[in-house]
Symmetry: C2
Subunit: 106 residues, 2 copies
């Protein structure tokens, strides 16, 4: 996995949620595809994110526990792993580390 | 001021300092110029940053109080304003808001 994106546009202002525990920037690739590049800071309560379109979340560094929609079990995802969330659903994320992630909107 | 950078490379992993109060990504413009695009979260103690090369810090959104090197007075900088820090110096930044900034390495 390359450690950088090339030839992208990036919005200067970040999206900050959950009192700064979730910080992300929107990037747009040369082909018009939009993604978000972000950080989740250590949190002792789960952060919930809603989806409108299907999302594919790729963990760049760190380790987190994720519970998707109504799935009964939470799973652990580490650097290099990823998970899919259906449209109009949600996922809960917990971590005691700094997570770098990319959200691919599908 | 355009609200985004175009045709840049961006490193996927953020630089996180001060327990997540300072989060930034390195970007590289088409001409090879490197900058950092970042966020400072509200903090009740000043965050100190050292410089190696001269830096020009541009505040994209929010308002912060900055004290540069040995200058006796701190000054307030808001969205659209910027300040210069000499090489091998430092600056202290305090804010009770979320700050978006760009650091231009000179």
């Amino acid at each position: 996995m390359p450690d950088q994106f090339n030839s992208v546009s990036i919005r200067k202002k970040a999206n900050v949620h959950y009192e700064g525990h979730s910080i992300s920037h929107v990037i747009e690739l040369a082909d018009g595809t939009k993604k978000t590049l972000g950080v989740i800071l250590p949190t002792n309560k789960a952060l919930t994110f809603k989806t409108h379109v299907p999302e594919h979340i790729e963990i760049i560094s760190g380790k987190c526990t994720v519970q998707i929609g109504d799935e009964p079990e939470a799973k652990v995802y580490s650097s290099g792993e990823s998970f899919h969330v259906p449209e109009n659903s949600n996922f809960k994320i917990m971590t005691d580390e700094v997570i770098d992630y990319i959200c691919h909107l599908e």
